[in-house]
């Protein structure tokens, strides 16, 4: 179903889309995962314009999801917008890097009604702000959270759990190593 022709006579293929994006938005080298899936990186300043262009010009009207990947070793967040064309049955994943030191990006809430939910979640889980997005400061899944955003790579889930939930009064531990050492084989140096 990929490589289809849409109304207007324009052939929609990953190659054509990539050439258009590099000419207009300085896109980087594409990662052609499959015939119907391509990842492309664009500068952050061009991201919203590129998404709008894909939506309005090429018919990528479905925002499948919008999330981020924490590239902590490069001090970057990689914003990841997955766009789908129903006519061509192609997914184009647009990616844009922003600095972890200043995690602010342009909002796309005006393009899709569901986009503001993704941005609200990204604000809570990664600490990425989207100025102008409605309700972006409201809690998404967490309430009363005062740690660093939990989906960041430097948030240590185990350390947080041990700090927050253990030890708890009245809670007995049944660690098998302790039982072996203290009850079953006290004479053996385990």
């Amino acid at each position: 179903m990929s490589n289809a022709t849409i109304a207007g006579g324009r052939e929609v293929t990953p190659e054509v889309i990539y050439e258009d994006l590099i000419a207009r938005f300085k896109a980087g080298s594409p990662d052609r995962r499959r015939d119907d899936l391509m990842f492309i990186t664009v500068p952050q300043a061009e991201a919203v314009a590129a998404i709008t262009h894909l939506k309005e010009h090429w018919g990528f009207r479905h925002l499948a999801f919008f999330t981020a990947v924490d590239l902590i070793e490069r001090n970057l967040f990689r914003l990841t917008y997955m766009l789908h064309s129903y006519e061509a049955s192609i997914d184009v994943c647009l990616q844009a890097d922003i600095s972890r030191d200043a995690p602010i990006a342009d909002t796309i809430h005006h393009l899709w009604a569901g986009a503001s939910t993704y941005e609200r979640e990204l604000k809570e889980m990664f600490g990425i702000d989207f100025p102008g997005c409605p309700r972006v400061d409201e809690p998404f899944a967490l309430e009363g959270w005062d740690e660093i955003p939990p989906m960041r790579r430097d948030f240590d889930t185990r350390a947080y759990s041990e700090r927050t939930f253990f030890p708890r009064d009245g809670r007995e531990k049944h660690d098998k190593v302790d039982i072996m050492k203290n009850e079953l084989y006290p004479e053996v140096d385990l």
């Binding site: 995962r33 990842f39 479905h62 925002l63 999801f65 990947v69 998404f140 939990p150 948030f155």
Partner: protein
């Protein structure tokens, strides 16, 4: 008429063709709040409004989710969805576990349909690792996915009936869902979480005599659907309450990202099983089910038709499963397995619509990032919040269930 206010949502007006009963008090709006920037201007201290919380527990949905409703009289003027009651941080947990250790985890993201999580996660891992899955294993995967759809629909239709006071149907369907779970138990050892699909294939073939049990259960479910059709879809109360409720205009579908039966009931002929066939769907004979009315009753009709369709597809699949052949590709030592660096995305059509996984590998023994996209992310949040406005508070439960939402896939 559709307008697009600054907040990004849609303001809807009811169709005026007389087909759908008006649930909005159109005659005199003087007692209701004015709208500013697309949202009602609510002063709770005025005493005109009341906050009502529906949930977090409700039998019509699987999981916990609250609707924070502001009502004026018995009409909802604002709705906010709250999730997080089940939040376990699945995506975060997966980043700290070996690839194989995530299989007992992913299935728990969606209790009624765990198999889609297993399949999509496996498909992503196999894609990055370059693993070919044997044909017989693909058919067995397809069988479990379609069985999961039917099982999940059985649970849903009982919830939809119960949310409008027809609790008996819930008892029938939960019983028949249990018959389906018996089959899963016989096949995989697990009733709810199966962990049947693993990277490279599936864990085992069909047990001896299993297809006979399957044929018996499918016949029972098919008979039940006929009774549900009579009792529920030809019920005057059901029609009065569901027709016109939660109207989704076709123009809303792309704007909100609505998928699955919620879109197909508004006349949008899209189904990933047809449009981007995976496993063996391109070798099966079926048509995409649609309706045009776009209300809760149309969604009920579409889902009931898709249940019949699932029964038919399962029968087709069983006939096509090769009797012999490998069911698993040999993997490297899974405790030291390093999946090549890269990123990929796979989607499938679950009962609620588009379910997808994005997997990012950095070449180590654990995923760098796993993103889970469930259809409820859109349906339970943006769509529910906007459809609830101007709805009678007594219909909110029916509306919520008619969107078929599973909150854990919102929180992940």
């Amino acid at each position: 008429m559709i307008t697009n206010p600054p907040h990004g949502g849609l303001l809807r007006t009811r169709p005026t063709d007389g087909k759908a009963p008006l649930r909005v008090f159109d005659e005199d709006r003087s007692l209701f709040p004015e709208h500013r920037d697309g949202r009602p201007d609510i002063d709770l201290s005025s005493g005109k409004f009341l906050k009502v919380w529906q949930g977090p527990q409700h039998p019509g949905i699987t999981g916990n989710m609250s609707l924070e409703l502001t009502v004026s009289g018995d009409e909802v003027v604002e709705c906010k969805t709250h999730v997080g009651y089940l939040h376990r941080g699945f995506e975060k947990l997966m980043e700290r576990r070996l690839y194989i250790q995530n299989f007992p985890l992913v299935c728990r993201i969606c209790v009624p349909e765990p198999d889609f999580n297993e399949y999509l996660y496996a498909a992503c891992v196999e894609d990055l690792a370059g693993i070919e899955v044997p044909e017989r294993a693909n058919w067995l995967r397809l069988l479990t996915l379609e069985m999961a759809r039917l099982t999940s629909f059985l649970m849903w239709i009982g919830g939809q009936a119960g949310s409008l006071g027809l609790g008996t149907i819930g008892q029938w369907t939960v019983t028949h869902r249990d018959y389906m779970l018996d089959l899963f138990e016989e096949l995989s050892g697990g009733r709810i979480y199966h962990m049947y699909i693993i990277p490279g294939g599936v864990r085992d073939g069909l047990p001896e005599g299993w297809t006979d049990h399957l044929a018996d259960v499918l016949a029972r479910v098919e008979k039940l659907l006929g009774e549900i059709d009579l009792v529920m879809l030809h019920n005057a109360v059901m029609k009065a309450r569901l027709k016109g409720l939660g109207y989704i205009d076709p123009a809303m579908v792309d704007h909100y990202g609505i998928t699955g039966p919620n879109a197909r009931a508004s006349g949008i002929e899209r189904d990933i099983r047809k449009d981007q066939p995976y496993l063996g769907y391109d070798q099966l004979d079926f048509e995409v089910v649609t309706a045009t009315e776009g209300d809760a009753y149309a969604r009920l009709e579409v889902r009931l038709a898709e249940m019949y369709q699932s029964i038919d597809l399962i029968r087709q699949i069983v006939r096509k499963i090769p009797a012999q052949g490998p069911i698993h590709t040999k993997l490297p030592n899974v405790l030291q397995w390093r999946v090549p660096a890269g990123q990929t995305w796979h989607r499938a059509e679950c009962t609620r619509g588009e379910y997808g996984y994005m997997l990012v590998s950095d070449g180590t023994d654990k995923p760098r990032r796993v993103y889970v996209k469930g259809p409820s992310y859109t349906h339970a949040m943006a769509v529910m919040e906007d459809l609830a406005v101007n709805t009678n508070v007594a219909d909110i439960a029916g509306l919520m269930v008619s969107l078929h939402t599973y909150p854990p896939e919102v929180e992940r």
